[in-house]
Symmetry: C2
Subunit: 418 residues, 2 copies
């Protein structure tokens, strides 16, 4: 008997009908001969509803410990209901909270990391013929406090459990039926990928293709857990996430992601003096301002220009921080830009394939669009452009990198490294 | 520092405003110098709402284990919210589930009994200056299963915790501001009692004065826990429930209870043969039919008449059971009566005071009302009468037994034992 972990998110268990559908889905897998451990999130809006009540009760933010106490009930409700639904269909099931499942975490509230899983109770219950349903998103610290794992926590629970059991496969059921080459709402010919590597998935997830939480992908990568992302509504094959995804013929770029939550901030005429940049970015970090791409132009007559991107919501805070540094650092001007989008191409093969960067630049310049910022990594290249051009750029890149059909090959000059 | 346990029911924490009011109430007690352990039920309709969802999911009744898993979230939500409300008012608080509070129960679901309480964690938190908030109604079996205590469970949690800590006092906060001599909606001059004994409280609680659950009263009696029942909305003094309530001057009857949920069933002409009655009542018990008063008339020419009372909702089931026994037992006729009420006078002093029964009969017969059934115990006497006469009978008894004012004495002939 193979053991599988199945994870269903909040919208998959959003109401009684959906819970019954999940129950049927799980039973199908059991009847196909698998031992099933199911990880479930809180029902649809439960978490938001609970947060709403706290706002009526507390001025300011409630203690994180009590927030965990409160929010962890959401998953406890869904596991109990799913277990009942499975019973009602005639199969044996048993639900467990995080602490009952042996999921130990740091003694931190709101975003604890899993430190250990002792899966014996879960395994015993599977051995007794039960479908075991585990509350996602939660665990217990060694001093018996209920903790939660923060955003994407249920994904992490599923992957960590799969690693600890160890399971043969971890199935992540979502609203979509897999990972796409790009957002199908932007490019109609977006293709569902058969496979993707952990690293590619990480880049895509971080860039906003939020099907699977980056922490869970990292965990899967570290423990080499075989993952599949598939639809909770259809029986379509999903996308396998694994260590080394097979390179499809001629396909170097696996997917195209984009992120509209981006603002550019530029600091012009910074005197070239050691430690100036450190001062700027330390001040930004102290204010919890996330900085993504950082670009420095060459130094001209003793001063330089810097640009960086940040979340839209952090832009104003960033400008204030910089304004306060003006005297100390002595720069000439601060500018900023919104209505941008960061378009990224991602592919593990990029590092070994010349001409990828050239192709990306060519596509964008052929459309007569100027690039505001560029950044590259081993398996990713991002260009920040004006938001109005998003669709045409993504379409152009999708075609140019052979993603429209599986047969097309990468376009790119042989002489260039990227 | 004295230690008190305060218990608030579901309607006291029914919404954000009420939770804030409870928080203030608890803080007042803390500031008055008490160490406070607070036991809370689920918010208002939470439990009913959760049960409603199960009905959409399950045909038939869901597994009791999963029901406990589900329902125990209700109290977990209220303890977290109350803790937040207290924090928000600037006091230290910490919430615990049943299992975190060291409340161990039988491995039974839906109506587990508490087997042990290990209050160290609660006590440590009190010693650290926290108001400790404990989820009522729930515990954990020794094999780590979440259990619930059934109806009145939060009362039981509070009393059992008070016994285990041990606390100096257990305060039960409710919708009413104490135990009354009878229902104030029926008799305007109904008086709030200063004191009542455990046994009297048990009789009153069982008879429908459902302020405090009988199981909790039993527990308090067994462990001699000082209880007070008081209002969560006013600062009025409540009613003390204790081992030996001081007998107020001349007051033998402490209170008058009544119960409309009663039907009379009579079996006429049962041949006098050994074991016939046992057969009847065993069959009723097998069908989970609760039988309260049983009366047998004298045997006339080899056959007897029996009557018993049961819950209204059980009447039809009882008649069916009896009909099936007709051939075997060989009785002549089955009759039944509804629209009845059982009126009971309760008082620990009754056993040692002559004339009480005579007074009760006299009051009822003076009103020209006939009595359908009578039963008596050490501290209680009940008459079943037609429901239309309820108000006048309770009023009459209230006056006759000196409950209208504290000065009035009991009326009763000196010659009669009751």
């Amino acid at each position: 008997m193979s053991l599988i972990v199945m994870k269903f998110g909040g919208s998959s268990v959003g109401d009684a009908e959906r819970i019954k559908r999940v129950a049927k889905r799980v039973i199908e897998r059991k009847k196909a001969g698998h031992g099933c451990v199911v990880v479930v999130s809180a029902m649809g809006d439960t978490t938001d509803d609970l947060i709403d009540i706290t706002k009526q009760i507390c001025e300011g933010s409630p203690p994180a410990r009590e927030m965990d106490m409160l929010l962890s009930t959401g998953e406890q409700v869904s596991v109990a209901l799913l277990s009942m639904a499975i019973h009602s269909l005639g199969e044996k099931a048993i639900s467990y909270t995080g602490w009952q499942s042996g999921i130990y975490t740091e003694a931190v509230h709101g975003k604890a990391r899993i430190t250990d899983i002792q899966p014996q109770r879960v395994l015993d219950s599977v051995a007794q013929g039960n479908i075991v349903i585990v509350a996602g998103f939660q665990g217990m610290s060694i001093d018996g406090e209920i903790t939660t794992l923060g955003r994407g926590g249920s994904d992490t629970t599923a992957v960590a459990l799969a690693a600890a059991i160890p399971a043969d496969l971890c199935e992540i059921y979502t609203d979509v039926d897999g990972i796409y080459s790009t957002d199908p709402r932007v490019v109609k010919v977006a293709r569902k990928l058969k496979e993707i590597s952990y690293d590619e998935m990480l880049e895509l997830a971080n860039l906003g293709a939020a099907v699977l939480h980056p922490r869970a992908v990292e965990y899967a990568k570290n423990y080499n857990v075989a993952l599949v992302v598939r639809s909770s509504f259809t029986n379509n094959e999903g996308t396998n996430v694994k260590e080394e995804a097979v390179m499809e013929q001629g396909i170097v770029v696996r997917g195209i992601a984009f992120d509209k939550n981006v603002a550019r901030v530029s600091i012009l005429g910074v005197p070239e003096k050691p430690g100036q940049l450190a001062k700027v970015f330390t001040s930004l970090a102290k204010q919890q301002i996330d900085v993504d791409i950082i670009v420095q132009s060459g130094v001209i007559s003793g001063s330089a220009d810097f640009s960086f991107t940040t979340n839209l919501s952090d832009r104003e805070k960033a400008l204030n921080v910089l304004e306060q540094l003006r005297g100390e650092v002595g720069f000439r001007e601060i500018t900023s830009e919104v209505n941008l989008v960061k378009v990224s191409i991602v592919g593990a093969g990029m590092v070994s394939t010349p001409g990828v960067a050239a192709t990306m630049f060519e596509v964008i310049s052929n459309l007569g669009i100027s690039i505001s910022l560029v950044s590259t990594s081993e398996i990713k290249m991002s260009c920040v452009i004006d938001q109005t051009h998003l669709t045409e750029v993504v379409r152009g890149l999708h075609t140019a990198f052979g993603l429209d059909t599986e047969e097309q090959a990468v376009v790119g000059g042989p002489s260039e490294r990227r």
